[in-house]
């Protein structure tokens, strides 16, 4: 102990012994024979045991959800209701997901040749009849960004038995894609973001192509964080409808434990707390379909089978199995977003406290949101919390745009806010303190009127069942077939406000 009283400039190294990052010895904790090669949250594994560990964790996370009806006490053979769709991004998790799915489900029949039970034994049959890998290219959103579709396609084609499905982010605004996934086309719907989610039906400004609509949509969002979140939401829904169109009962994503923890913290910080259960496991059903109980009616289960595998393990797996990791293009200003900052924090935390990152995911997984649901968001198709917007209206400080900001042809409007979930509404309307601050620019910015994605337009169309008269109904404040009141908000003049609260004012 006497050293602690010494001169710190001379004995700096002696004072701070480096903490050992693994428990007990360097021998593998599993086989207890070989020398370890990898430290996973303080436990040491040899290469052989690690190679068995990762697929086991993958199957443990996925296989309880494969059969449509849950297994009883006795485990049954794996019989999924539909096909399998993998959502790949070209990143590390996607590369590992592709590889493990290929090893587990396309080569399993061959691997079982020598196993007891013979060739006709159900164990030898393929679990999935068709496996596809869908990639959503976001290059269109950012001029100058490299298109990686071909590279990702080449990486997928290395795995025999997995079909490549290329998609583009602008498909979210493309009626042709909407028709290809088997949905009915509807009129365009636009939203004025200044007016806290006020829709401007039928009179939308004509954006000539889906790409223009996409760029207009992302360009009018209030913050760089909103842009990143909006892209992630568009990708998610594009994958869901693609899964439905390809008769896929399951969508697998390559979200690792680290990525999941980042996503959870980031999402909660942006008002997505109510949808935490869907981040862990989601069962999406197509519009118009009821949630089925016994038979499969086209529901899609979204599962993240690498949710117990950290990025370090993914990196080691990819290196030791010589996987091709295409990588992702850096998006402009991504590092300054809430997601980017959360990523930096969690990755830094994982280096010194690897178990804490696992604890985030495990703890958040136990959360149950308070309150009921009232339908689902027209934008992200996740459940909407009952009365979330009333609560928001009570506690938030708002800035109202003047009527002159809105073009005269688009003046007829209706409040859409209750049809968005809290997180989507926040994404569309929540401005940062910097963007709210007055700028020196003399010309006012153009009104942030954006076209909504095709599925949101279709959802609105279903709400107003007769599409031919929907605009007229809205203008006249007509009945919504859901039988709810239509609330309109507007800025009051000083005299009107005085008249409204007059009886409570003191005479001075």
């Amino acid at each position: 102990m006497s050293e602690s009283c010494g001169n710190p400039t001379v004995e700096s190294e002696a004072l701070m012994p480096k903490k050992i990052r693994f428990d007990r010895s360097t021998t593998c904790v599993k086989c207890k024979e070989q020398r370890g090669c990898l430290v996973i949250r303080h436990a040491v594994y040899c290469k052989d045991c690690f190679s068995a560990l990762l697929p086991t964790r993958f199957r443990k996370a996925l296989e309880p959800h494969i059969n449509h009806a849950p297994d009883g006490p006795r485990r049954r053979a794996l019989r999924p209701a539909g096909n399998l769709l993998l959502g790949v991004s070209g990143g590390l998790g996607s590369a590992v997901l592709l590889d493990v799915v290929h090893r587990t489900y396309t080569t399993r029949a061959v691997a079982c040749d020598g196993v007891k039970g013979g060739r006709e034994h159900p164990r030898g049959q393929k679990v999935w009849s068709t496996i596809r890998a869908a990639y959503v290219e976001v290059a269109g959103a950012f001029p100058g960004m490299k298109d990686r579709t071909e590279e990702v396609g080449e990486a997928v084609k290395r795995y025999e038995g997995i079909e490549f499905v290329p998609l583009r982010l602008e498909a979210a605004f493309d009626p042709a894609w909407w028709a290809r996934v088997g949905q009915t086309s509807t009129a365009d719907v636009s939203v004025d973001l200044n007016a806290e989610g006020t829709s401007l039906l039928a009179d939308s400004p004509s954006a000539s192509t889906p790409l223009d609509s996409l760029r207009n949509y992302l360009g009018r969002l209030p913050t760089p964080t909103a842009v990143q979140v909006a892209i992630a939401k568009l990708i998610r829904v594009l994958l869901l409808y693609t899964a439905h169109a390809t008769s896929s009962s399951h969508v697998l994503l390559g979200t690792s434990l680290t990525s999941l923890s980042i996503s959870l913290i980031s999402s909660i910080s942006q008002g997505g707390g109510f949808n935490v259960p869907q981040t862990m496991y989601e069962e999406w059903f197509p519009p118009g379909a009821e949630r089925a109980t016994e038979s499969w009616r086209g529901e899609v289960r979204v599962i993240r089978p690498l949710r117990d595998v950290g990025t370090k393990e993914c990196a080691a797996w990819a290196w030791w199995h010589a996987l091709v990791v295409v990588g992702k293009e850096r998006r402009p200003a991504a590092a300054q977003t809430i997601d980017g900052l959360t990523r930096d924090f969690i990755v830094g935390l994982e280096k010194d406290f690897p178990s804490t990152v696992s604890a985030i995911s495990k703890t958040v997984g136990k959360l149950a949101p308070k309150g009921g649901t009232c339908g689902r968001c027209i934008l992200c198709e996740l459940p909407v919390q009952t009365d979330a917007h009333e609560w928001r209206a009570r506690i938030s400080i708002r800035t109202r745009s003047t009527q002159s900001d809105v073009p005269a042809t688009l003046a007829s409007s209706v409040a859409l806010a209750p049809l968005f979930c809290y997180a989507c509404h926040t994404t569309l309307t929540s401005r940062s303190s910097r963007s709210v601050a007055p700028t020196k620019a003399s010309a006012p910015p153009p009104p942030p009127i954006v076209q909504l994605p095709v599925w949101a337009a279709a959802a609105l169309s279903r709400l107003y069942s007769d599409t031919a008269t929907e605009a007229e109904e809205i203008r006249t404040g007509g009945d919504r077939n859901v039988g709810e009141e239509v609330w309109k908000t507007r800025k009051l003049g000083e005299d009107e406000m005085r008249a409204a609260v007059g009886e409570f004012l003191f005479d001075t």
Binding site: R21, R35, L38, L253, T311, A316, W319, V347
Partner: protein
């Protein structure tokens, strides 16, 4: 005593993009850390080259762009896995591992998302 150590250095997970897009390099590293690199330069015995020195050497001699994506606080940036002869460097003493001729050091970035 050899004046240099012959090492094989590899980059993966996209990290190679910072090193002229070349994944595998064979380098001759000084066997001892130059006195200018040692904080306590009063010491007379030369300090053998370790991974911390290799990281600095790579930064000064091979890195082509954006050093902040490779080095942070005198070590590799969080999110980069280092393997020493196919073994996690956390089992080998991390930056203090003393390099030997013929060692294979791999740097793999885990920051390419999922």
């Amino acid at each position: 005593m050899a004046a240099t150590l012959n090492l094989k250095v590899e980059f993966g997970g996209g990290l190679e993009l910072l090193f002229d897009n070349v994944r595998s390099h064979r380098i001759a590293l000084p066997a001892h850390v130059p006195s200018s690199r040692v904080p306590d330069s009063g010491s007379r015995t030369p300090r053998p080259a370790n991974i911390t020195f290799l990281i600095h050497w790579l930064k000064d001699n091979l890195l082509k762009e954006r050093a902040e994506l490779f080095v942070e606080n005198e070590t590799v940036r969080p999110g980069i896995l280092v393997l020493v002869n196919d073994t996690d460097w956390e089992l080998e003493g991390e930056g203090d591992y003393e390099l030997k001729s013929g060692d294979e050091i791999v740097f793999i970035s885990t920051l390419h998302g999922g």
